[in-house]
């Protein structure tokens, strides 16, 4: 292991474990730690009290801490940091850790543990933290010796932020955080068992180039890896150089500008008719930082057997994402940014160009699919249509807002109707699908970008899962705007029950809802209820004009609205259900 000390880190100074934790965070440039104190982390909180470099954000429930740190990481690209106590602190944090893990978000989670001598004795607030979190982290550590603490935290940041990112947990027993040790923070670290590939194989990239140039019906499919890998510019340059159609996954939205004519919309279970049909019918598919998951391609058998001639090139930093659900022809393991840069260089050096006639025919086919206008909805309704609210939100924020969402119908409408032109503006839980993330995500984003508009698009069911964070928002003066699409139902559950369970709306009606306006007011915020379509725009304008207040907009929407198109679970991606009006 190489140990090199950066000039800004004092070496050899004796500090307690708790002080070492804070000094490590400072050395990593951590601005915020999201957390909640408790017995096992009291020494660390004492160290926090004595300094000003790292700001602690006190949440109201540990789940909120994890989500806020996760939201901060998604918006900034920097690792989010959370700090919780042992036992229930950890178990409350697990949902947040798993959420970050499923979407490959870099995070460092510091947890307190009972003193080393008490581990295994079923001590008060003891749980097997590394055991409980093991399947939901990229890696985790239990630090038993204070002399290993700094180097372990260095490893945690290194692992969390490199390769395919993910959460890394460091469990620190209470006695370790109180023991003294000389402080050395390594600048660089080398782990023999961990060395992610970044540069793609030149020969494979050349093969990809050949396939792409010979394609008659090409398609470029870009996922969250392009956002995480900061490859948005390269994706955009590649697509524009080739003039090929491009789609983004839910997690990839913003990696290619949604307003561009080459963009055919999001794909997947609630993707556009044109994107899903182009995916299914293309002859060469370039997948960039995407993983062909069930919500994207539906049934992999249908996807493969429905088009045996299609050739697939797959660029991903994680080899295990390649050929997992769909067999690919040209795998390229590497950072998407590095690989696309090399691919672009090879394209510039090559004489080979796509055949314009075939490409024109393909675009004509796509134009036919586009003509279905699959996202159409009733604009003359007397009820507020949720899609309309998102369209107005887009207009009023000029497409520049950071939009967080919870999980369900509102999430899909936000993804479909807020046209993201930039990466890291769309913050949602795609993999784990965690209801309750929206508000804490918004708080994490607002802390990172205090001058930006931050909107949390949510529903009356999701918002109640982390509603307590309205108090955190008050304490830290985080004036986010909550756009509550209130249809009095767990909308997506209701939609599935309507389609697949004979309209038996089992337990999906949200009875006894709070008065959200009064609720917001009781937390010291502004609440506005809107129940007429004509008032939507005015209410949104008023909310965003109140720069220094959190405004909770409670939109009473059409209860029966469904998300279209829809690929039913287990079906192929061209087997879409379209809106009844089509």
């Amino acid at each position: 292991m190489e140990l090199k000390l950066p000039p800004n880190v004092a070496s050899g100074e004796t500090l307690t474990g708790a002080e070492i934790v804070i000094r490590c965070l400072k050395a990593e440039g951590v601005e915020f730690v999201f957390g909640y104190p408790g017995g096992a982390v009291l020494h660390i909180y004492d160290a926090i009290f004595k300094q000003k470099d790292v700001k602690h954000i006190l949440v109201r429930h540990e789940q909120g801490a994890l989500h806020a740190a996760d939201g901060y990481a998604r918006a900034t690209g920097k690792p989010g940091v959370a700090l919780v106590t042992s036992g229930p602190g950890v178990t409350n944090a697990v949902t947040g850790i798993a959420t970050a893990y499923m979407d490959s978000i870099p995070m460092v989670v510091i947890t307190g543990q009972v003193p080393t001598r008490a581990i295994g004795e079923d001590a008060f607030q003891e749980c097997d933290t590394v055991g409980i979190t093991r399947p939901a982290v990229k890696h985790n550590f239990l630090v038993k010796d204070v002399n290993d603490l700094a180097v372990t935290i260095k490893k945690a940041f290194h692992i969390a932020t490199t390769g395919r990112p993910g959460p890394v947990l460091v469990d620190i027993p209470k006695d370790v955080s109180n023991e003294p040790a000389p402080f050395h923070y390594p600048e660089k670290i080398h782990l023999r068992s961990y060395s992610p590939v970044t540069k793609g194989h030149g020969g494979q990239i050349k093969k990809a180039l050949q396939l792409l140039m010979d394609a008659k019906r090409p398609m470029i499919y870009v996922g969250g890896g392009a956002v995480l890998g900061e490859a948005s510019e390269e994706v955009t340059e590649l697509v524009r150089t080739l003039g090929y159609p491009v789609t983004n996954t839910l997690m990839g939205l913003g990696s290619y500008p949604a307003n561009d004519k080459l963009f055919v919309g999001m794909l997947g279970m609630h993707g556009t008719y044109e994107a899903n049909n182009a995916m299914q019918n293309c002859d060469v598919l370039l997948a960039v930082g995407a993983r062909f998951d069930d919500r994207v391609i539906g049934n992999p058998k249908h996807f493969a057997e429905g088009n045996l001639a299609r050739k697939i090139v797959h660029i991903d930093v994680d080899p295990s994402s390649i050929s997992k659900r769909v067999r690919v022809d040209v795998p390229i393991v590497g950072g998407v940014k590095e690989v696309l840069t090399e691919l672009l260089a090879q394209i510039r050096a090559s004489q080979h160009r796509p055949d314009p006639a075939s490409l024109a025919a393909w675009w004509a086919q796509i134009a036919d699919w586009r003509a279905k206008d699959c996202l159409r909805y009733d604009r003359n309704s007397k009820l507020i249509k949720p899609q309309y609210v998102i369209e107005k939100l887009y207009e009023i924020t000029k497409g520049e807002a950071y939009v967080t969402s919870d999980v369900g119908q509102h999430q899909m409408w936000a993804a479909q109707f807020y046209r993201f032109d930039k990466p890291r503006r769309w913050i949602n839980s795609g993999g784990l699908g965690t209801m309750g993330v929206g508000l804490p995500y918004a708080l994490g984003v607002k802390l990172a970008f205090p001058d930006a508009d931050v909107a949390c698009v949510t529903g009356e069911s999701s918002i109640q899962m982390c509603i307590q964070e309205l108090s955190t928002a008050k304490q830290y003066k985080l004036p986010v705007k909550i756009v509550n699409l209130n249809n009095r139902y767990m909308g997506m559950v209701r939609q599935w029950q309507e389609f697949f369970h004979g309209n038996r709306y089992s337990e999906s009606y949200m009875d006894s809802l709070p008065d959200f306006v009064k609720l917001a007011e009781s937390y010291g915020h502004v609440g506005i209820r809107v129940d007429k379509p004509g008032d939507v725009e005015g209410a949104l304008r008023e909310a965003f004009a109140q720069k220094d207040r959190l405004v909770f907009l409670d939109f009473i929407t059409d209860q029966t609205e469904n998300v279209f198109p829809m690929v039913p679970g287990g079906k192929g991606m061209s087997e879409m259900i379209l809106s009844e009006e089509l």
């Binding site: 055991g131 093991r134 399947p135 890696h139 239990l142 068992s193």
Partner: protein, 163 residues
């Protein structure tokens, strides 16, 4: 298809759980698993026998490589290799059966490690098939207890698995 995966892992607490947890979480089979430190005390060598289609074994290998504690993974069954398993068997051996069992042990080149007037405790080393064949050769009713280590494997020739 049966595969023998040889894995070098950091000799750290939790490494075994990470590997075992990966198999159970993703629904992969473990037929046998052996693990012990290597000549380099910081590393452990694990041998896992698993079954699955080529696609599944490819995924298993990739997923194992993804674990931060895993230094190297090799599918020994892809090349020439040697595999051995150790078995201890306690059998009822009384009266006329004693000679017959002893002869069977000799044929399989086993050793009798412990003797009482009613039992033998036998040690046998070999491939999984050989150990199975030995058990088949015994009277099933006479077998009181079997303990098997699971397969350990190594490549043939000068090739070595190193960190």
């Amino acid at each position: 298809m049966r595969h023998i995966l040889s894995i070098l892992v950091e000799n750290e607490a939790g490494a075994l759980s990470r590997v075992a947890g990966l198999f159970s979480a993703r629904g992969y089979n473990i037929e046998t698993l052996t693990v012990a430190p290597t000549e380099d005390a910081t590393l452990s060598r694990m041998t896992i026998v698993t079954t699955g289609s080529d696609e599944i074994v490819e995924q298993i290998t990739k997923q194992l490589n993804k674990l931060v504690d895993v230094v190297k993974v090799v599918d020994l069954s892809e090349g020439k290799h040697i595999e051995r398993e150790l078995m201890l068997v306690k059998v009822r051996a009384a009266g006329k059966d004693r000679e017959e069992i002893k002869r069977t042990v000799d044929i399989f080149r086993g050793r009798i490690l412990d003797v009482t007037d009613k039992s033998y405790t036998i040690e046998l080393t070999g491939t999984t098939d050989k150990l199975d064949a030995f058990l088949d050769a015994l009277d099933r009713g006479a077998i009181l207890e079997t303990v098997r280590t699971g397969v350990s494997g190594i490549g043939r020739g000068e090739w070595v698995l190193k960190a």
